[in-house]
């Protein structure tokens, strides 16, 4: 007999919201090797559409280097990717690895959205 599968871990969540020509990938919790394929899939799906992307890590409490590798790869594919990083959990590995120069990083989602506001360009 097969035992029922254990309930999925709730240590992280990755939710994708689409707003007109903008996609927000909102992550929360602990992002590590377990979360990596989920984030990979979320970003790969978006890149196919060619839309502008904001990755919101404001609620991320742990972020390993493999996750930052996913962001750098996505950014190289789509230069319009913006990362919301507020807390030390994300800021510190970004800074120590010198990745800030390879990513567009903002402190909150509002700043990211303003950056995407078409009115600002008019």
């Amino acid at each position: 007999m097969t035992l029922p599968a254990a309930p999925p871990d709730q240590y992280f969540s990755i939710v994708t919201e689409t707003r007109d020509d903008l996609v927000v990938v909102r992550a929360a919790g602990e992002l590590d090797l377990v979360a990596r394929p989920v984030l990979d899939a979320a970003l790969a799906h978006i890149d196919a559409g060619g839309t502008r992307v904001v990755v919101d890590f404001a609620a991320v409490t742990f972020c390993s280097s493999t996750i930052l590798g996913v962001l750098v790869a996505a950014s190289l594919r789509d230069g319009r990717l913006t990362v919301v990083a507020r807390h030390r959990a994300v800021r510190r590995p970004l800074e120590l690895l010198g990745l800030e120069q390879h990513l567009t990083i903002v402190p909150d989602l509002d700043t990211a959205l303003r950056g995407h506001d078409p009115a600002r360009l008019a």
């Binding site: 871990d9 240590y11 602990e30 590590d32 090797l33 377990v34 742990f62 390993s64 280097s65 493999t66 930052l68 590798g69 750098v72 790869a73 190289l76 030390r88 959990a89 510190r92 590995p93 120590l96 690895l97 010198g98 990745l99 390879h102």
Partner: protein, 177 residues
């Protein structure tokens, strides 16, 4: 049957045999009244979810030490990067194990992550920058540790990470028993 998870080995030398609860001050961030020692050891399969669970266990253990939050975060980050390297690289195409040993002794906090895998090639130890293919783990560990030793060969790797956090430095030196 494959899984083996021992209970965390939690050990303290209490120099004057007070109850364990009283031996370690609550997380205050300030100087502690008395020195302490504690160790933690765990052996888990080299799998991504096991490494994540072990990181959480280490975090719980660290919470009981008189560490500041930033040092605690650096220790958890470095330890996990070492665990993740084992999961991702040490046992290509086969199963294996990770051992984590952590020790607090006076003003020194040591974490050792070891495996019996294939060893770390020279190139990933240098990778950094905008490389997309990982290789940042050891670089990050190096940045957040006070001392890092990597011993690696065909029969395994041992990563020894050492910190001397200011919060522990302010504590009196442990008396030798």
């Amino acid at each position: 049957m494959y899984r083996h998870t021992s209970e965390p080995h939690f050990h303290r030398d209490d120099v004057d045999a007070e109850p364990v609860e009283a031996a370690v001050p609550a997380r205050s961030g300030g100087p502690v009244d008395r020195p302490g020692r504690a160790s933690f050891e765990e052996l888990v399969p080299a799998l991504d979810d096991e490494a994540a669970a072990l990181r959480r266990q280490l975090a719980l253990w660290l919470e009981e030490l008189p560490l500041d939050a930033d040092s605690g975060h650096d220790i958890i980050l470095a330890a996990y990067e070492a665990l993740a390297n084992v999961v991702a690289h040490a046992y290509p195409g086969e199963r294996g194990w990770i051992r984590l040993y952590a020790e607090w002794s006076g003003d020194v906090l040591t974490v050792v992550v070891s495996d019996t895998g294939c060893g770390v090639p020279e190139e990933p130890r240098r990778a950094s920058g905008a490389s997309t293919s990982g290789g940042r783990g050891l670089l990050l560990i190096d940045k957040v540790t006070d001392q890092l030793h990597v011993e690696t060969g065909k029969h395994g790797t041992r990563v020894t990470m050492i910190w001397r956090p200011a919060a522990l430095r302010h504590a009196p030196a442990p008396r030798e028993g």
